[in-house]
């Protein structure tokens, strides 16, 4: 481990003297973050939408959705206004005209279908990938999940010969009230977005951290090209410490890059990343993910130049998919799903989450775990691959 630290420290010293590394890892992302924040209008802020409902059922289960679940989300502190449309065509027009962010169509026979335990369908009309549509979908999905539980329960009651109809309605109402499957706080936190300054600060940080970590990740390839690898291999140290030294340097360079950006954008860009400790943990997790991916890519490259080029291409593609250029909430749903394979999406989602009052490590734990796992898996594969390259030299 001592040798790995010595090697990592040497790489750090070299890279911190290297202007290109500082330009790529700090200056460029900082400049872009400040520029984007200055020229792009703030499309984020507190969320509010209007949902229009077409209730062709008028039954008791539909009433619970409209009068309880949706109505509970209205009011001065709520996130939506609720209107009613006479039919699907007028609801669609309201969404097209922007009078409503989304529409919910409740078909005739919805309540009897639920009560009978057969499939019941709710339709949501919304612009593709809009926040309004996502929020509406979340509300309806949570309600549908609650109904599904009740149906199972009712089916059991049916089997024992009990009366289904009255029990279904009572159970749905009780479950909705007791379990409160949809709460205003959860929704606001889930769909909250950080301010524009914070978004671009975080987005540039996660995009450019890959350029910082690559300098450590491709260290072994650079040593081989510079002729120093043979000297390192002749030294009385385990060969693995050469790889470990590069990995440590990748982590350190990534951390330096992100922490400098976090501090600078907070101090001069007006960004608010969130509470310090959760942000630090999130940054460490993001750096682990970036370093792991850089090490993986370097493990399959033949030269340092090739590794750098591949790393840059992958970083840009992952950034595009992961919501760096266009926020995930503005992306089509299919692309938004694909984004989940990128560390960028998990990182930016966690930054959004941390913008909610009271949010902490617990709320961003999924992102931390996913980022850490991504880094550990890709990094391990990359190190094994690089070890093979060392042995086959």
């Amino acid at each position: 481990m001592r040798a790995a630290v010595v090697i990592a420290w040497r790489i750090l010293r070299q890279r911190l003297r290297d202007r290109s590394a500082i330009i790529f890892a700090v200056v460029t992302p900082l400049g872009l973050a400040l520029a984007f924040a200055a020229i792009i209008p703030d499309f984020t802020g507190s969320f509010h939408t209007t949902i229009t409902v077409v209730d062709n059922d008028r039954g008791e289960v539909a009433g619970i959705l409209v009068d309880h679940v949706l109505a509970d989300l209205t009011g001065p502190d709520g996130i939506l206004d609720l209107t009613e449309s006479p039919d699907a065509a007028s609801a669609r027009q309201a969404v097209i005209d922007g009078d409503a962010g989304a529409a919910i169509l409740i078909p005739a026979g919805f309540t009897p279908s639920v009560q009978a335990g057969s499939t019941a369908e709710l339709t949501i009309l919304a612009g593709g990938g809009t926040v309004d549509g996502e929020v509406t979908r979340s509300i309806v999905t949570d309600f549908a999940n609650a109904i599904g539980t009740i149906q199972l329960m009712v089916a059991t009651v049916d089997a024992s010969g009990g009366a289904a109809d009255a029990r279904t309605v009572a159970a749905a109402q009780a479950a909705t009230e007791a379990a409160s499957p949809v709460s205003v706080d959860d929704l606001v936190a889930e769909h909250r977005q950080a301010g524009i300054s914070t978004f671009y600060a975080a987005a540039m940080a996660i995009m450019f951290v890959f350029f910082a970590t690559q300098y450590g990740a491709l260290a072994v390839l650079a040593e081989r090209q510079e002729g120093t690898l043979s000297r390192l291999l002749a030294a009385p140290i385990p060969a693995a410490s050469i790889l470990l030294g590069g990995a440590l340097a990748a982590l350190a360079l990534g951390l330096v890059s992100m922490l400098v950006l976090q501090a600078a954008t907070t101090a001069i860009g007006g960004a608010d990343w969130g509470p310090p400790l959760p942000v630090l943990v999130l940054i460490v997790a993001a750096v682990v993910a970036a370093a792991g991916i850089s090490i993986l890519l370097a493990g399959f490259a033949r030269t340092a130049e090739e590794a750098g080029t591949i790393n840059a291409i992958v970083a840009l593609i992952l950034s595009a998919i992961g919501g760096v250029y266009i926020p995930l909430s503005q992306m089509p749903e299919a692309l938004s799903r694909v984004a989940q394979v990128t560390p960028h999406a998990w990182f930016l989602r966690a930054i959004d989450t941390l913008s909610a009052p009271g949010a902490g490590i617990a709320q961003i734990l999924p992102s931390i775990l996913v980022l850490g796992t991504m880094g550990a898996v890709t990094g391990a594969i990359g190190l094994v691959r690089a070890q093979r390259v060392l042995v086959a030299r």
């Binding site: 040798a3 070299q14 030294a235 009385p236 385990p238 030299r393």
Partner: protein, 335 residues
């Protein structure tokens, strides 16, 4: 422009070679080394020993297996078979501490251009377990030895080729190794720097350091090495002192006399002398094939002048390792 030797003259110890006692443990003993790259057998059953204070040369053309052999000796390259012992301790993939007794100077420059000379030395010193005041003192010593103390804080990217070469060798010496392995250290070096490097190697050998020196320059092997292993196509095809190797192939010295007079009579005189295998007159002189020409030269000249022949010049050509290599392999060293 004068080029400083890698070791400054003040630090070069008594050049008188002190042979190590025969009972001393070899600094290097390797045997049965084998390495195959795909279909090519790069090294095949190579073995030799080096005593303390001995300089052993691996002489062979490019691609003969020299670098592969020393890469296995230094633990850089995993060997397919064979054994390497450094001062009696076996070098294995896990016994990294044994490598601490080896100083390795690769053929290509192995220094970091964006670090200073001092930072390069400190970095490698730490990898060899050195630290604190001991490392600082030793770095200062080596910087003085390689004559770079004045420019210790300068990035090595600004150094001349000769300065980089000196630092390259200095790093190999930093941890006071028992065995110094130099892989073709004079390739691409100007004649002055080359001579400085050779002087330094002689000095280190005189200090008692075992040296493994690879080269494809016959003159370097003849000048530096106590013993030479001639390697070709992965095999050591002959080994011994220069004289032993020359004797091995039975080659004689050639003495050419540029002379005028009764050459036929002189030839008959010369053929009577001990050690002379043949003497042939030709226009302008006589060619003589003789063993130990330098010892025989007075007798040869006396015989030549006895019959009134006037000798204008004498040229002695002794068989060299180039000739040995040619004899053994049918090709020149630089092929």
């Amino acid at each position: 422009m004068a080029v400083a030797p890698v070791l400054t003259p003040a630090r070069i110890p008594d050049p008188q070679h002190v042979p190590a006692p025969e009972t001393a443990l070899p600094v290097l003993a390797c045997s049965g080394l084998r390495k195959r790259f795909g279909a090519r057998q790069a090294v095949d059953d190579v073995g030799f020993t080096i005593a303390p204070g001995e300089t052993y040369g691996l002489l062979g053309p490019n691609g003969a297996g020299k670098t592969t052999t020393i890469s296995m000796v230094c633990g850089i390259l995993a060997r397919d078979a064979g054994e390497v012992r450094i001062q009696g301790r076996e070098l294995t993939p896990v016994t990294t501490v044994v490598k601490g007794a080896i100083g390795y100077v690769p053929q290509d420059l192995a220094i970091y251009p964006d670090l200073s000379a001092r930072e390069n030395l400190v970095f490698f010193g730490r990898l060899y377990g050195m630290g604190g005041g001991e490392l600082r003192r030793r770095v200062d010593e080596v910087l003085a030895v390689i004559d770079l103390a004045e420019r210790a804080r300068e990035r090595t990217s600004n150094f001349s080729g000769g300065m980089k070469r000196r630092l390259n060798i200095g790093i190999g010496l930093l941890h006071r190794p028992s065995l110094l392995v130099l892989d073709e250290p004079t390739v691409g070096v100007d004649p002055q720097s080359r001579n400085a490097i050779l002087e330094s190697v002689e000095a280190l050998s005189a200090q008692g350091m075992g040296i493994l020196y690879t080269t494809h320059y016959m003159e370097e092997a003849e000048r530096l090495c106590d013993r030479v292993g001639i390697i070709d196509e992965g095999k050591i095809i002959a080994e011994g002192t220069r004289r032993e190797l020359v004797a091995l192939v039975g080659q004689l010295d050639r003495v050419t006399l540029a002379a005028v007079g009764d050459l036929a009579a002189t030839v008959r005189e010369l053929q009577q002398l001990a050690g002379v295998q043949s003497a042939t007159a030709h226009e302008g002189g006589i060619d003589i094939l003789v063993s130990e020409a330098r010892n025989q030269l007075p007798a040869l000249l006396a015989a030549a002048t006895r019959d009134g022949v006037t000798v204008k010049s004498v040229e002695v050509v002794e068989p060299d390792l180039e000739a040995v290599f040619l004899h053994l392999t049918g090709k020149a060293l630089r092929d």
